[in-house]
Each structure stands twice: as C-alpha cells, then as structure tokens.
C-alpha cells in the first residue's frame, strides 16, 4: 500500500466519519472566505471608481492670445507633449473651437455672446494623463514656455483627492489583513476542537511509533480539503452576488459607470481558493501542534 494512498484514505475516512466537525469547519471557512471575498470585490470595484474620479484630473494649458502663436509652433508643441510618457491624450482646442464651446454653453443667453468683440478666447491644450498622480510634474514643464499663458489643473482639488484615495486604499489593505488573521484564528480553533476529540487517537499513533509527519499528513489533507471546499462555495456565492448587485447598482445610479469588469475575476478566485487552502493547512498544523508533543 503506497503511503500517499494510505494518507488519502485516512483523511477522507475521518472526514466522513467526523462529519459534524467537517461541517462545522466547512461553515467556518465558508463564512470567513465569504466576508473576505465580499471585501475584495468591494475593494476592486471602489478602486476602479476612485481611478475613474482620478481620471477626471486634466491639465489645461492656455496659450498666449495676443499675439497668437504661429501654427507650426503649436503643432511642434503638440507633438512634443504627445511624446511624453506620462501623457495619455493631448487635444488641441483652437480659438474657433473654444468659441464654439462658449456658444454652446451660452445658447440660452445670446446677449452674452453679442457683447463679445471678435474672439477673445485663447487656444488651449487639454491633456489627459496615464497616471493622474504625475499631474504636478507635467504641469511644471510649461512654466517657462514662451507661448504659454497659463496652466490650470485644479492643484488643490487634485492634491486633496489623491490624499483621500491613497488613504482609502491603505485602509482597505489593513482591513483585508486583519480579516485574514481573524479567519485563521477562527479556523484553527475549530480544527483544534475537532482534533481534541481525536486526542486519544493521536496518542495511540505516537505509541505505535508513528512519526509526527506520519500523523500530520492525513490531518493536513483534511484541513486543505475542507478549506478548499469552503472557499469554493464562498467564491461561487461571492461571484453570483457581485454580478447581481453590480447590475442593480448600475440600473439605479446611471451617472456612475460602475465597471463590471473592474474586478479581475480570475485573480479573486485564485486568491480566495489560495486563502482557503492556506488557512485549512495552517489551521490544522496549529491545532495539531500541542498534541504532537507527547
């Protein structure tokens, strides 16, 4: 009889025999992973929302008006800006475009437009960034450009926004770590209970001359199996609930485009299953430790 098949037989034998403990451990893992999964999905979704808010941070570079820059100066500048790695998109808004927009905004108050003589509006570049947090660096490059009149990017709002989003991310990270610790404690306690019920069994095994690892393997296989099954069930519930809730939110808050694809599902599934396996194994190892000291 091979050792591995012996261990497997031992593990699954006692899983079915001690079915009450198996169910208790399963439920503990299931609930812990369910909460963890919920938080993970929330974190990914809200992170996507934060990113979307951050994307709204743009730099507007107003060019000098009188005299207007030469067209080749403008196109040279545009291709220079477009060449920067931080820049995602750079749109040139000509004086005529700017006037068009203004007409659009004030179409209900045409008298405002009538009071304008000629076109006083400056041309501008509207720059979207790949990483919005680089806004300060990029804006600073226009400081002594001779054809630039003014750079606007709402520096105060941007700084506050980034401070908030960074803090929010840190909080969520800490929360996840704490939750993981709580789950491990909870599960190792449950497994310890189940092992305590089999204390005598372990004693006998030691008396017959079983090494610690010989005793440990079946328990580890049990722990990992329960962890994996609990995680699997929780993962399914998390995914189903998520797609349902995101659908509901999307319907009710139309202006917030909640990205359904913001959650990297494969990653979440792998994390949850991985955590299930780890807490199952660590839980049974911790639970078994004191009984192996005979």
């Amino acid at each position: 009889m091979g050792k591995i098949s012996f261990f497997l037989k031992e593990a699954f034998g006692s899983l079915t025999r001690n079915y009450f403990m198996t169910i208790a451990a399963f439920v503990t893992v299931f609930l812990s992973i369910l909460v963890l999964g919920g938080v993970l999905v929330f974190v990914f979704t809200s992170d996507a929302l934060l990113k979307e808010v951050e994307e709204k941070v743009e730099i507007t570079v107003y060019l000098k008006n009188d005299p207007d820059p030469e067209p080749d100066q403008i196109s040279a500048m545009q291709s220079e800006i477009a060449g920067w790695t931080e820049v995602k998109e750079c749109i040139f808004v000509s004086k005529a475009d700017a006037l068009e927009r203004m007409k659009e905004w004030f179409k209900d108050n045409p008298e405002v437009l009538d009071s304008l003589s000629g076109n006083p509006l400056p041309a501008s570049f509207e720059i979207a960034l790949a990483d919005p947090q680089t806004v300060d660096v990029v804006a600073a490059r226009f400081a002594d450009n001779p054809i630039v009149d003014e750079v606007k990017y709402g520096e105060e709002i941007a700084d506050k926004l980034f401070a908030f989003t960074n803090q929010a991310r840190n909080f969520m990270l800490i929360f996840i770590v704490l939750l993981g610790i709580v789950a491990i404690l909870l599960i190792s306690n449950t497994i310890r209970l189940s092992i305590f019920a089999r204390k005598r069994e372990v004693e006998i095994m030691k008396l017959v001359g079983a090494t610690n690892w010989f005793i440990r393997w079946p328990f580890l296989i049990e722990g990992v199996t329960v962890g994996l099954l609990g995680a699997l069930a929780a993962t399914v519930v998390v995914l189903v609930l998520n797609s349902y809730l995101v659908g509901r939110i999307r319907d009710s808050i139309a202006f917030l485009t909640v990205p359904l694809d913001a959650v990297p599902y494969l990653l979440v599934v792998l994390i949850l299953l991985g955590v299930g396996v780890v807490i199952g194994a660590v839980g049974s190892a911790i639970g078994l430790r004191r009984f192996l000291k005979v």
């Binding site: 009889m1 034998g13 008396l207 001359g209 079983a210 010989f214």
Partner: protein
C-alpha cells in the same frame, strides 16, 4: 536490554515517581513489575518509551542512552518496543486487521507482504476469523489479543505490558499470559506490570517490586508478595 542507573523522577512540585532506581534486565528475560497503585510502575514504563524523561540518572534501552536520543528518533525507539495496555489502546475506527496494519504502515516499509504478515499474526493470537471486527464489536480479551498482535507484529526485541489483564476475567487472563509467554519464547524480552497476584505466583518468574518509587525487592523466581 534495559539498564536503569540511579534513576529519579519527580513530578512537580514534589511527588516522587521513581527514586534512585538501579536495575538491569537481560535480553530474553520475562519480568513482572509489581506494586500498589502509585508505586511507580507506570512511571517506569513511561520512562522506557520516553514519554517522560528522568530528572536524574541514566536509562539505556537496547544499548541506546535515552537521554542522548534525538526527539525525532523517539518514534524509531517505539517501533522497537511493543506496548500493551490495560485499556488496549486500539484505534476505534479501524478493524482488528487495520489496527495491526497501522503498526506496519507506520514503519514506512509496508509492502504486499505486510497484509500476509498481519493476517498471520491475527491467526497466531487466535483471531484469524475476526480481522474485520471493530474494537467495540469484540470482547475485552479479544481486544487485548489484537493489541498484543499489534505490539508484536514488527517483532520488537522488547515488549512492555502495563496491566494487560487488569480488565479481564481469570480465564481470559490466563490466555493472554500464555500468549505473552509464547512471545517471550521467541527471544523477546517481556516486561509486565501487574496487580494480578495469582498470575505472578503461578508463573514464578523474576519479580521486581516497587514501593513509593523505590525497588524494594528483586527476586529471580519470585511471587507477588514476600515468601
């Protein structure tokens, strides 16, 4: 086979388990360890299989000094010592056959021949047809036979029995004794702790008597009490 040199074991805070015990047991001997409850019999046995470690003195088993034995080697020591207990210590979820197989698989070199070996030893203890029974389906005497079969299946040089007949009626006890006697005949050293006065008197073997942790008598062909 067994050497105790000035061995003392104190259970904290100050209960004496064994006090300054020195004795030798030769290979192939059959030895009774007698004494009232609390006289140190169990301490003696637990020291032998290194469930406990002495506070003073030296214990040698099969030429090995237990004090210098690494923790991870303890299981290998125990495979060379068959143990039989008053409460049988059978795994409740395994059949008689599986209990014996466990002792074989534990050694890590269980093979196809192991099953044959387990079946043979079951037949040897007179349970050839009850291999598929669970412990709770067997009588006390039958369970003790399984436990002896398990202890002996690896042919250990030393077999320790702690009150093996403690829970059994006289007739059944006699059967168990005969089994131990036969095992001793194969060259295995047998050390048996017991309360069973009649049995000890009938067998006329070496008797070591303990009282309050001290050896008070060591007689070549002794009885339970003083002659």
């Amino acid at each position: 086979m067994i050497k105790f040199e000035d061995v003392t074991k104190i259970y904290p805070p100050s209960t004496v388990g064994l006090e300054r015990v020195t004795l030798h047991i030769e290979k192939g001997e059959f030895v009774f360890l007698v004494g009232a409850s609390g006289s140190g019999k169990s301490t003696f046995i637990r020291l032998l299989i290194r469930e406990l470690e002495p506070d003073r003195g030296r214990i040698m088993v099969g030429g090995r000094d237990l004090a210098t034995l690494h923790r991870w080697k303890v299981p290998y020591l125990r495979r060379n010592i068959g143990c039989v207990f008053q409460d049988f210590k059978l795994l409740p979820n395994k059949t008689a056959f599986e209990n014996i197989m466990y002792a074989l698989v534990v050694t890590g070199n269980a093979t196809g021949a192991s099953k044959k070996k387990a079946a043979e030893i079951l037949a040897l203890v007179g349970l050839g047809d009850k291999g598929d029974r669970y412990p709770n389906e067997m009588s006390g005497g039958e369970q003790q036979r399984v436990s002896i079969a398990r202890a002996f299946v690896n042919h250990p040089p030393l077999l320790i029995a702690d009150e093996p007949t403690g829970n059994l009626d006289p007739d059944t006890s006699m059967g168990i004794m005969q089994l131990l006697y036969r095992i001793n005949k194969t060259g295995t050293t047998v050390l048996m702790a017991t309360h069973d006065r009649e049995m000890v008197d009938r067998m006329r073997r070496r008797v070591i008597a303990l009282d309050s942790g001290k050896v008070v008598r060591d007689q070549k062909r002794g009885g339970y009490g003083e002659d």
